[in-house]
């Protein structure tokens, strides 16, 4: 495969997925915030709660529109740009995507229409039910997508078939209850809840700083503080769960993001910071907390975690075995009943993916040299520096969210947050950070999986469609240009409606309407 084609395909996927994930976490979190606010409305009958649902719902809608727009691409991009991937793993990977549509996306998208337009046609209880179903649909959507993504990281419940030349499902339940998928799901939706809570907290803080619509802002702030604190705690705890499943199933990713070159005696320490010397495979200095990584990664004190050098050495053997598997497969593709090839293939097939890595360097498997095998083995651990730092930024942000929401909750309970201007400013300036954390998290997950699209099964460079490089330049420019334009429009609307606040509902109850000053805003 043409290297440029592979790089551009990856870049396009990364760009479209990262744009999509600017909108997803807010949707995930805000739906539950809307459920909580509407529950308060149904229970208390207070008008302000209905206004909250409608106003935050309006901002939710502005965000949701772009979530849908950018999501359409992702359902089809596997086919357009990753054709061989789609063939090779569609038997497993396609199922959760299709079920996501059937079970979740229909639910979410049908009820979002009633959420916006059903207020006067539904009873309070019915409308509340609609909001709940919308939230359930949104979150189920995330479940199935993460089942699909979890399988890319840890491909369980499946087996390669040389007759059909692809991976085939052997157990649907194993695919669903993949521990990596489950850990990723809860971690990802919690990150979404933090985003939703931060959004409401920050914008409410802005109204409080401007001393406008105080009752509306205070009640919103309180809901966000409580929901956000719970979510921020769970995102960190569940991230730790991800660390545990990673140590079992994705050792090369863990070793890379910890810059752990050597296998350290158990329990390994957790590096806070390090000076990474990638060329010489060592760290020049390290700031470390003893024991912690070993405990997170293995839940024990005596299981060692393998370092990068050990992983590469082990994978060198797997590449050698994989080359035999590829050779046998080539024979079997011509004559499926060749007994010698069949026996050889059975003996080596668990390393088939490692053999396929050599295709990046030479198309003909009989031309593979020991040097090529060395290169292939070395490529099985992703570049350390970008993973090490993005992971640390994400974790630091995670803890800082606990601090902010903790303070917000504390002063909510003491009922003095509206006067704490430092807290309100802190909340306001933190607004963009949950998005930064989410994008970093996805970078760690996806870049950390390289050189594979399906870990240890299918190399990235074999996964792409056989398109021309010109097509990729054109489509990449088109996507980035189109999305950027739409993002500018979205941000314009968000800022406009965010600044005007609940006055945009046209109820006559809020600041700018009472001033008769809508236009001057």
């Amino acid at each position: 495969m043409n290297e440029t084609l592979v790089d551009l395909s990856r870049l396009q996927f990364a760009a479209t997925a990262m744009y999509h994930f600017l909108f997803v976490p807010l949707t995930l979190g805000l739906t539950w915030m809307l459920v909580i606010m509407e529950a308060l409305y149904v229970m208390t009958g207070k008008q302000v709660y209905q206004d909250m649902v409608k106003f935050w719902g309006k901002l939710f809608g502005i965000n949701f529109a772009l979530g849908v727009t950018t999501g359409i691409t992702l359902e089809f991009q596997f086919g357009t740009n990753w054709a061989y991937y789609s063939h090779y793993v569609g038997d497993i990977f396609g199922a959760p995507l299709a079920i996501e549509g059937l079970m979740a996306f229909f639910l979410e998208s049908t009820f979002i229409g009633l959420f916006f337009f059903g207020w006067n046609r539904l009873s309070r209880a019915q409308h509340f039910l609609v909001t709940v179903l919308m939230a359930v649909g949104t979150n189920l959507s995330a479940l199935w997508i993460l089942v699909a993504n979890g399988w890319m990281q840890n491909p369980v419940g499946s087996e390669f078939s040389f007759q059909t030349m692809r991976m085939e499902m052997t157990s649907f339940w194993d695919v669903i209850f993949n521990p990596v998928a489950q850990a990723k799901f809860v971690h990802t939706v919690s990150a979404g809840y933090v985003t939703g809570a931060m959004f409401v907290l920050s914008i409410s803080a802005y109204y409080l700083l401007k001393k406008r619509d105080l009752e509306f802002a205070k009640r919103s702030f309180r809901v966000a503080a409580a929901f956000g604190f719970a979510s921020a705690c769970s995102v960190v705890v569940l991230g730790d769960e991800s660390g545990y499943t990673m140590a079992e199933t994705q050792q090369s990713k863990l070793a890379a993001l910890e810059a752990m070159w050597e296998t350290e005696p158990a329990p390994a320490g957790l590096k806070l910071l390090a000076g990474i010397d990638e060329a010489n495979q060592r760290n020049t200095w390290e700031l470390e907390i003893p024991w912690v990584l070993g405990i997170i990664g293995t839940r024990s004190l005596d299981t060692p975690l393998p370092g990068i050098k050990e992983i590469i050495a082990r994978n060198r053997e797997r590449v050698e075995s994989g080359v035999e598997a590829v050779k046998a497969l080539d024979v079997l593709r011509r004559d499926a009943s060749d007994p010698q090839a069949l026996a050889l293939f059975e003996a080596h097939k668990e390393n088939l993916g490692f053999g396929l890595l050599t295709r990046k360097y030479v198309a003909d498997i009989s031309q593979v040299t020991p040097e090529i095998m060395d290169k292939a083995a070395a490529s099985t651990v992703p570049p350390v520096t970008p993973l090490f730092w993005t992971f640390r930024i994400m974790v630091l942000l995670g803890f800082s969210f606990i601090a902010l929401f903790g303070a917000a909750l504390w002063y909510s309970i003491k009922d003095s947050f509206a006067e704490k201007r430092w807290l309100l400013r802190w909340a306001l300036w933190f607004l963009p950070l949950p998005w930064v954390a989410s994008e970093m998290g996805w970078f760690v997950a996806e870049y950390g999986r390289q050189p594979w699209t399906i870990a240890e099964v299918l190399p990235t460079h074999l996964s792409v469609s056989t398109l021309s490089v010109e097509s990729l330049y054109g489509s990449l420019a088109g996507f980035v240009g189109f999305y950027t334009l739409l993002l500018i429009v979205e941000l314009y609307l968000m800022f406009r409606f965010g600044r005007l606040g609940p006055s945009t509902l046209g109820t006559g109850r809020y600041h700018w309407e009472r001033q008769g000053a809508m236009q001057s805003a």
Binding site: A65, T69, D91, F93, G101, E168, T466
Partner: protein, 378 residues
């Protein structure tokens, strides 16, 4: 567990159902989008038109998304080959669709004529372009598409975007566009009143006639283009391997299924009966009946092409044995079974709550409604 061969046929039916569901459900709001700039003469009229589909377009669009997912899960080779082969056509569909979510949600949030007119044309593009391209794509499927697989089943597409725009395919595009616009016009007539309704009825008559005439013309033409026949090798019950068969091209081959099983003529007949009934009903003011009749017409038109090609899905013109069929482009037995049960469980639920959503929002959308809900309506 059902046997593999039966499941393969069931999945051909289920994908057809999803395609028809997409055309009937998302089709009517795409038709409405296509008509928007022409039927709506001022801002309030346009808001009336948009709000007839406002609460529903998003749910309807999921037929498209789920259709894509189902093809991925059930026919991975078709998903891989068709979407990468039709790369620019597919991107044109996606980019056109981008205008819809933002068009619907953002248009009326700012009170500015230029802003709103711009989004109206966005909604037009989002409504008009996808049915046109899908029609053109179908026209190309009927003629065969230039692609082949290598021994490892890597697909290579040998054609170009411009090659898709041949006369027969463009006629198929006209069929598809006219039928979807007709369907949208019928729906609009059902949900509006007064002048907007009258204009919608006139549009329905125009596009209904175009759809039926173009469909009849395509039916005559298709007999002259070479179809595809499996000469040997495809094992309906066997493991899927598209390279294990021999395929020949033969003039009139697409009529073979109709010759062998004359009952299948009911499918194209349904298209004409549905279309004529819908045209009659929309003139007579029986718009609800007309909507379902035009839905039947859509099912008949899509079904006609599907039946003609069966068991072919994506015939290859340059390397006929690489052609993808119902027998050799499918997922494993287990995946087809799992997906079958997922569809059987969820499809009735989807239909039930979608019907409820339409019932809740039923009735005419009026100018008075728009003025009363200035801030809330689209």
């Amino acid at each position: 567990m059902m046997d593999y061969e039966t499941l393969k046929v069931i999945w051909w039916l289920l994908v057809s159902v999803l395609l028809v569901g997409f055309a009937v459900m998302d089709g009517h709001d795409m038709g409405v989008g296509t008509l928007l700039p022409f039927v709506g003469k001022d801002d309030t009229e346009r808001r009336v038109i948009i709000n007839t589909v406002g609460p529903h377009w998003d749910g309807n669009q999921v037929w498209f998304i789920t259709g894509g997912g189902a093809i991925f899960a059930a026919w991975p080779l078709v998903y891989a080959t068709a979407f990468s082969g039709f790369y620019w056509a597919m991107l044109a569909v996606l980019w056109a669709l981008f205008f819809r979510p933002v068009g619907f949600d953002y248009r009326s949030k700012i009170d500015n004529a230029t802003w709103r007119k711009t989004w109206d044309w966005g909604l037009f593009v989002g409504g008009a372009v996808p049915p046109l391209i899908f029609g053109v794509a179908f026209g190309n499927l009927l003629q065969g598409v230039p692609f082949h697989f290598d021994a490892n089943l890597v697909p290579y597409y040998e054609g170009s975007f411009w090659g898709l725009l041949n006369p027969f395919a463009l006629l198929a595009g006209v069929v598809s566009s006219a039928m979807i616009t007709f369907h949208g016009a019928v729906y609009l007539a059902h949900r509006t009143e007064g002048e907007i309704q009258q204009r919608a009825v006139r549009a329905a008559l125009l596009f209904g006639v175009i759809a039926l005439v173009a469909f009849a013309a395509a039916g005559v033409w298709v007999q002259a283009i070479p179809g595809y026949v499996i000469a040997a090798g495809a094992d309906p019950a066997g493991l899927p391997n598209p390279l294990a068969k021999e395929v020949v091209r033969e003039a009139g081959a697409w009529m073979a299924n109709y010759r062998q099983q004359p009952l299948l003529w009911a499918v194209p007949a349904l298209a004409f009966l549905g279309g004529l009934a819908a045209i009659w009903a929309v003139r007579a003011g029986r718009t609800f009946f007309a909507f379902w009749a035009s839905g039947l017409m859509i099912a008949g038109i899509i079904g006609t092409a599907g039946v003609a090609m069966f068991p072919f899905i994506l015939p290859s013109s340059s390397d006929p044995r690489s052609s993808l069929t119902v027998w050799d482009s499918v997922s494993s037995h287990l995946t087809l079974t799992v997906m079958f049960w997922a569809t059987v469980i969820f499809m009735p639920l989807i239909i039930a709550y979608t019907s409820w959503a339409y019932k809740v929002m039923a009735g005419k959308v009026t100018k008075a409604y728009i003025l009363e809900n200035e801030k809330q309506a689209y």
